[in-house]
């Protein structure tokens, strides 16, 4: 029920946020904003630096939000690189986000993957099973869709998910074990 014990983590949860404990995997220094809802089965791995998650985000099952070291670097020599996720983003089931900067109101659809060098501004939608591993800043309101990763620009950002967030905030604590707000830390026992 508790988060994975074989890793050290320090998580700060703001009041109003609901983080399901089941199959949760936390590594490193994490901060979660208010009204953010994290479903069971999520992994938040702050290996190469802290992760700050904003308000009103919806992180669904089996998501991976990771701040990993770039491949082939000396892990001891690296400075800490901060990963910031903005407000009102939606990470649908199975999506993976390693982008260092994510803005507001973005949607990563099911099984979407975003690499480290991408910067999501605001209102972007990464379609289902699309993976972005380029080195670029996505302009606002860009939609990436299709098996061939076509792109188009929407006239305005996608709709808010406030209804879903309110509903979950009521229902989730009644049937899941939820981490209380505050700071919770666990250090790996030295072996």
């Amino acid at each position: 029920m508790c988060p994975a014990i074989n890793s050290s983590y320090q998580v700060t949860i703001a009041p109003g946020a609901y983080v399901c404990e089941e199959r949760l995997q936390l590594v490193g220094e994490i901060s979660i904003g208010s009204k953010t809802i994290i479903h069971p089965g999520v992994s938040i791995i702050a290996e190469a630096g802290p992760i700050f998650i904003g308000d009103g985000n919806l992180i669904e099952e089996q998501c991976v939000i990771a701040n990993r070291f770039p491949p082939g670097v000396d892990k001891d020599q690296m400075n800490q690189v901060v990963m910031i996720i903005g407000n009102n983003n939606v990470f649908e089931v199975g999506s993976q986000c390693e982008a260092l900067k994510v803005g507001d109101n973005n949607i990563l659809e099911c099984k979407a993957q975003v690499g480290r060098s991408v910067t999501l501004t605001s209102g972007c939608v990464i379609g289902a099973k699309c993976s972005l591993t380029t080195d670029e800043v996505l302009p606002e309101n860009t939609v990436v869709f299709g098996s061939d990763h076509q792109r188009r620009t929407m006239p305005d950002r996608p709709a808010f998910q406030t209804h879903q967030l309110d509903f979950l905030a009521r229902i989730l604590p009644t049937s899941h074990y939820v981490l209380k707000h505050g700071t919770k830390s666990h250090t790996q026992p030295a072996t």
């Binding site: 939608v125 379609g127 939609v143 869709f145 299709g146 076509q150 188009r152 620009t153 929407m154 006239p155 996608p158 709709a159 808010f160 406030t162 209804h163």
Partner: protein
Amino acid sequence: MTTLLNLHRVKYQCSCGSFKSLCYLYFCRHCLKIKCKDCVILEVDCRFCPSCYEHLQSHEAITRKNRCQSCFSCPCCNHTLVTRATNTSAAMPVSLNTTPDSGNTGGGDADESISSTNVSGLQTPSKKVYYLACSVCRWSTRDIRLADQPTLNSWKAQDNIHEGRFNELLQHYKQIATREKQERDRKRYSTVKLRSALPTATTSRSSSDKYGLLAPVTRRGIRTSGILKSPSLAESPNPTNSTLKPSDPITEIEPLDENLFLSNTFDFNKLTTITQRLNSVEIQPLIVDRLYPLAKHFTSKQSKRCKECDHNVLKPEPSPKLIKFKLHQMALFFIPEIRIWHHPAWSTTESNPCVLSIVNQLDEQTTLKLYTLDEIREENTDKDLIDRINQLDEYILTSQLTLPMTKDRSVKLHPHVEPNETDTKLDDEFRQNDSRELVLYRKFAKIAIRCYIKLKSSSVKTILGAFIIEHRVVGISPIVSTPTAISSNPVTRNVRHIILIDFGPTDKPALTLHSSLA
């Protein structure tokens, strides 16, 4: 497990010479030959919309240009658009999905429950308006500033600015075409009898044989219906309006201004792709703001007819919702199916023993005879078959397939029964007569036979082997001229099929041996 139903590995030769998997082939019971989709004639039976299953008569569908009135495709990604409803007075738009089929009832219930929890305090009467949205690329009719419609199914098609000119040209050429056809047919069919029984189809667009889609019977009828009038009456010409304003030709085209790409006003994101542009040929919008929902095309259910004997091979039910067939002569129901069961790790010099399984799909007991290509060549009876074998051997085959037992290999196959049948008496009887060399395993309708593959040379990349099976088919007798004395003897014949097996690349590891075969 995926190797069990590798359909593309085993191919049967159709009577036109092409090799296809058994599931794609038809069997004509009158000429007793395998037919594939390239040697049958298609006839359109039923036209319907693929998303709402709206079924229209042929003539009505053609006047509607084979498009659905209520289903639309996204102009951006070509997926089906979904109708969404919102309330006009709510501060935050509440969106719920309704498909064109479900109508107002489904959408209404959900809407009430949502509005009661979310829109608290708003007393103004909320009106529901609809817009179309694509769930894949997130395009919607709001992107092109199209107003939300208050009623479902009120999306109008765009006006075609060239329509007047098209109609003028069509009328003009139609008149020329009818005149030419009448003259041509009068010369050719000067002595044909007038067929008054056939419907007098006018040579309008809907019944003319422009694309070769009509049945041969109707085709002949249309050709001869033009000469129903006696030659003397047809002399009087229709008052043809042959004065048609010719189009204005353009001799000079503006060259492309290279500075266009450098200017600030040029935005690549706003341009449509060629596919998007050509999806609506009449309009061909250049910029993304001018895209419009595309009405969905109809699809058709077709019946297939053998080219040689003109009998139907496949006839579906006319309703789009029924998936059964009135006439369903697939090769799978007449010919036993052969699958690869086991092959060893390939050695280029020695003979590799492989196991093939044969499954009987018929409802009756079948006797199957197996021949290698060499034996057929020795027999020298069927010249056509030998020609085909020689061609195959020269150009395609990369290995030689031999079967154990020198001659007279015949195996009996059980009829196709339900798997939980417990009567094994017939099975045991067959097992007694089986040769241990050839038949490795037998269970109800399925047997496993052994064969040997020897590669032709060591530089072979993929292994292709072939052999021949022979079995008996029961056909339908041709209709005799006197309707009273219909012969009741069904025609039975032994037919032979060439089977081409692709075992795969030479470096593929051996398939795991099944426990019953070891």
